[in-house]
Symmetry: C2
Subunit: 444 residues, 2 copies
């Protein structure tokens, strides 16, 4: 159960009389319905990259993933070679819900020392390498794959058993390579972009090894689909998209995403990518320059009360904060009394969850009192069902915002130039002219 | 050796003729010199919280820390109970330079499940608990201490050997408790605030167990002191403070901090606290309202090229980015050629560091080309000396910015209200009236 609590938006009065949310929602009903209908209509077009909507319905692929996991009980370490959308979803969910039976390692950078360290520590006989790249051309992931493939080949008798590929069903260079070598391969549906891929094998394959209840994760995601397709008064993603839209129109260019949970510590990183890469666009669908936009900022409660909250409260009023709060713990712990530390008496006999919860409420209220608007997404508890619901909710929210802003939330043209410069600097064939241009500009 | 590369500021022309940095610096020489002199003059006043400047000179305290570490060779797991400034420095430096001989665990939140998990996994006989709180009243840290103390008492014969306290030499409730119980205790100098405490025992004690070369870390910090006290043309902290100041004046309200290194993955978190808590202030020293300010955003290269760089390049022009780049690896790794993957030929035979370095340069240049200003702090390599230099540099930069903005960079008044609400919600004696008020406002 996902609940939306808008109480702390009040200090920043959106309407003239404070917030009358049903009225506000009614005033924007038309544009939200147009957005929803446009998304559902475009869904059948694979070029629209809306495949993530239907992926949670695909229980056949999930069964194949689970069979593969069951057939490979020998795995003790799973190395995920993936970056950005190919890593962040599994990272966030495994940190929240993984049972630790298989250790997950994410190679999401090319700094040599950590890779060398990992190769020295891992036992190849017990290691499975999952290389994830939709295009098969991601430089970081493929560089790592070249090294890990060789490492396995030199150390085990059948290296192919130790590699599983997740890539496009047809395009790119990994698919033909997997076929030629007879490697097990799973599909990234062509209509699913990296940052929307957590419920397809990009996320589910590593998460199966992490011991996450994937049926429930997908069931939760389907619950958000139900809301997103339905009437506005129960359409949480449309509602949170509207809140974000209204505050961005009022000049807030920063959105803070702050779960009160260490287990959810990587969820903000996943959200930051989802938000920034989807919504950070220079041109709208008609090619007009976009002049506004919001930047997502990662925070964790209570931890960041001692790091960022000073600024969130007293700093410039340029922020809208989303809190994520759990309504109940999975397991609780009592704070014992200790003689000689009576100054802490107010903690004695209370529970850690009570303290966490009090601080979450206190911070949200203190921000509101300072005129810093915020709202809370409350999860009944932290399990696969509720987390799946939250993930899909945030994907829908992002899609709705893209529609409200009339931008394509499903491409990422802005990363191309950096890739081209990298090719030129790495001396790739065909990029000699650009390399010369860069040299003339002092970059070599 | 720390180097400043301002080449990629050019696209956002600060001066009418593009950037003429020496001239720009000369134009602001007076205010920077006033700032430096004010900081150095206030240093002798403990209430000014400038103790961090002289801490790296205090080799006597460091010797005591190292003796304690040597006398406790039995430790296999070190649990740091600390939050915010009591955790972030040691976390950043140990991730970058720790040798893994002792495992460090940071308890920096009060979510019950991760604490329960840690208590179940740790072997008490081999565990040392370092409780770090200057005031001894930090709710999260002290709640964790109450639990860990009891856990040790029940499991080992001499629990006091397994606890080491880092706190104020006189104030607060931890100091008298440590004395009454005969616990080993180290000092947080009264003139050093949490976010400036990495070179005092708050940072050095855990880092001694992590195997970090602390003499070199402090020597590096002293090198930055030398620069900060010296003439402007070699005063890197004054210069980066000026860059930040000029762009904030031009409406950039977001500063991105992006090292190209997985080993430096927690450095942005440390910087975010340093920046946000120091500079996010509502009032200047005269009590006037401050209307501007900047929010720090965490990023890691290359990883965030696949998450945030789309927005950094194509999104709103509201950002100034600081890159941190390493000029040489500690150890490198070659990318092997693989038959069947000739599409990756440009990577064959190259090294991981070459790829990392090319991507760092490519991204910085691509941002500049899009009119997104950025500069680079280049470290000769990632070792204790250079990292100590960088940490102290960033502390000085923050202090200079506080002076340029005429705010107190060394307090954090904005976190008080949240603490008071927490006391009220936790039913602490003396907070009944506030609890009633909160209830009337719907918070309970």
């Amino acid at each position: 159960m996902l609940r939306l609590d808008l109480n702390n938006l009040f200090s920043e009065r959106i309407g003239p009389e404070g917030i009358d949310w049903p009225a506000m929602l009614a005033a924007h009903a038309r544009s939200l319905e147009v957005a929803r209908d446009a998304l559902l209509e475009r869904k059948s077009n694979p070029e629209a990259f809306l495949g993530w909507i239907d992926v949670p319905e695909d229980t056949e692929t999930l069964r194949r993933v689970l069979r593969y996991r069951q057939a490979n009980g020998w795995v003790e370490d799973l190395v995920v070679l993936g970056i950005g959308g190919s890593a962040l979803g599994a990272q966030a969910v495994s940190a929240a819900l993984g049972n630790g039976s298989v250790r997950l390692h994410f190679v999401d950078n090319v700094e040599p020392e950590p890779i060398i360290g990992l190769l020295r520590t891992l036992e190849p006989h017990k290691t499975l390498v999952n290389v994830i790249s939709k295009s098969g051309s991601t430089a970081e992931t493929m560089a790592a794959f070249l090294v890990f493939r060789q490492w396995l080949e030199l150390a085990v008798t059948d290296w192919k058993k130790h590699v599983v590929v997740t890539t496009d069903p047809a395009k790119g260079i990994l698919r033909p390579y997997a076929e030629a070598e007879g490697l097990t391969a799973f599909e990234v549906p062509p209509s699913v972009g990296g940052r929307f891929s957590v419920t397809c094998p990009v996320g589910t394959l590593p998460l199966a090894f992490a011991g996450v209840d994937l049926e429930s994760l997908l069931a939760g995601a389907r619950k958000s689909n139900e809301q997103a397709r339905g009437a506005l008064e129960h359409n949480l993603p449309a509602q949170t998209a509207l809140v974000n839209h209204l505050f961005s129109q009022r000049g807030k260019n920063i959105v803070v995403f702050m779960p009160y949970s260490t287990r959810l510590r990587y969820l903000p990183d996943w959200f930051v990518q989802l938000h920034d890469e989807s919504l950070g666009k220079m041109r709208d669908r008609q090619g007009n320059e976009v002049r506004t936009g919001t930047t997502a900022v990662r925070a964790i409660g209570t931890t960041d009360q001692h790091a960022q909250v000073q600024l969130f409260r007293e700093g410039p009023r340029d922020k809208l904060t989303t809190f994520v709060r759990l309504l109940a713990p999975s397991e609780n712990l009592e704070i014992p009394a200790v003689k000689g530390l009576e100054g802490l008496e107010y903690l004695f006999g209370k529970s850690f969850f009570e303290l966490l919860d009090a601080e979450a409420k206190a911070t949200a209220h203190a921000l509101a009192k300072a005129g810093q608007p915020n709202y809370t997404l409350a999860l009944e508890k932290l399990d696969a069902y509720n987390l799946g619901w939250l993930l899909q909710h945030l994907m829908w929210q992002t899609a709705f915002l893209g529609e409200l802003w009339n931008i394509n939330a499903f491409d990422q043209p802005g990363v191309e130039l950096g890739k081209e410069y990298t090719y030129a600097l790495m001396g790739r064939k065909g990029w000699e002219t650009l390399a010369q241009e860069l040299k003339a500009e002092g970059v070599e």
